[in-house]
Amino acid sequence: MFLAALTACAVSALLVLARIILGKTTFDRVLAVNSLGTIIVIGIALHGFYANRPEFLDIAIVYALINFIGTVAILKLFSTGSLKGNNK
């Protein structure tokens, strides 16, 4: 059961990766990287259950937060040209 779910994650990760590589604009790529992060968070949790060691969920928590920070930082750089405060 967990293996089937992991397979579904793998298939969608491949499709999202294709969007990252093909993507026309930066926004497509940012969106796709964010989705890849979400899929990998699910994958980490599922792999923990699949290997009978669900204690590793802490990493998934860290990931869910780090992914958000990275995405917002990239978008901020893209909008204002620097990472300083709100100098629009």
């Binding site: 293996l3 992991l6 793998a10 990760a13 491949l14 990766l17 990252i20 590589i21 930066t26 790529r29 940012v30 990287v33 890849l36 992060g37 990998i40 994958g43 980490i44 792999h47 923990g48 590793f56 802490d58 990493i59 860290v62 990931y63 780090i66 992914n67 920070i69 990275g70 930082a73 990239i74 750089l77 893209f78 040209g81 620097s82 990472l83 300083k84």
Partner: protein
């Protein structure tokens, strides 16, 4: 067993695809994005290899802090990388030969997790036997890091701290100095 192999093979092929895309990319933001995606996949790889602590470090440092640091540094750079016109055949040959030698050498390595491999025979049994009586810390990893290799860890911490201070000093936004330089240039131009 075969499913573990398949998961690992899938993750490695995804990482290879991201690497090839990284080679092709010429936009700075795209490169940073791909690096972030690469370390996302790498951490999942570390988890399947049962290296949870490495995966934790990769998650927080590789995907998080280094992305933000790259971005902070690249805010000072032009948005597009210049196309290189040099001949790249020679570096490619060197990389292929070096990679081939490394792969060839890896066949002499002992199997992963084998108890009789040399690295587990030298001083590790001494640590495992002595850690409770010598140090008094129940966790072996902690006692090795903080006591047996205490000076080593101390030096590492100093190096990381120095690197952090240096990065802050470089990236600090010194507007006053910049304005001073600009005004000096103006004076030179006008006078």
């Amino acid at each position: 067993m075969i499913s573990e192999l398949m998961i690992n093979a899938f993750l490695v092929s995804i990482m290879l695809a991201i690497g090839i895309a990284l080679l092709k990319s010429r936009s700075v933001i795209y490169t940073v994005l791909l690096t972030s995606a690469y370390s996302l996949v790498a951490a999942l790889m570390f988890i399947t290899l049962d290296a949870v602590d490495v995966a934790f470090t990769e998650a927080s440092v590789g995907a998080g802090i280094s992305t933000v640091l790259f971005l902070a540094a690249m805010a000072f750079l032009p948005k597009k990388e210049e196309q290189t016109v040099n001949n790249q055949a020679f570096p490619a040959v060197i990389c292929l030969v070096l990679g081939g030698v490394l792969i060839w050498c890896s066949y002499d390595l002992p199997e992963i997790g084998l108890a009789t491999s040399p690295i587990h025979q030298h001083i590790v049994p001494e640590y495992i036997l002595g850690s409770r009586d010598d140090i008094g810390i129940p966790n072996i990893v902690t006692s090795v890091l903080a006591s047996y290799r205490g000076y080593d860890t101390f030096g590492e911490t100093i190096v990381v701290f120095t690197a952090g201070i240096a990065v802050l000093a470089i990236l600090k936004n010194n507007k006053k100095t910049l304005n001073k330089i600009k005004s000096q240039k103006k004076v030179v131009k006008n006078g």
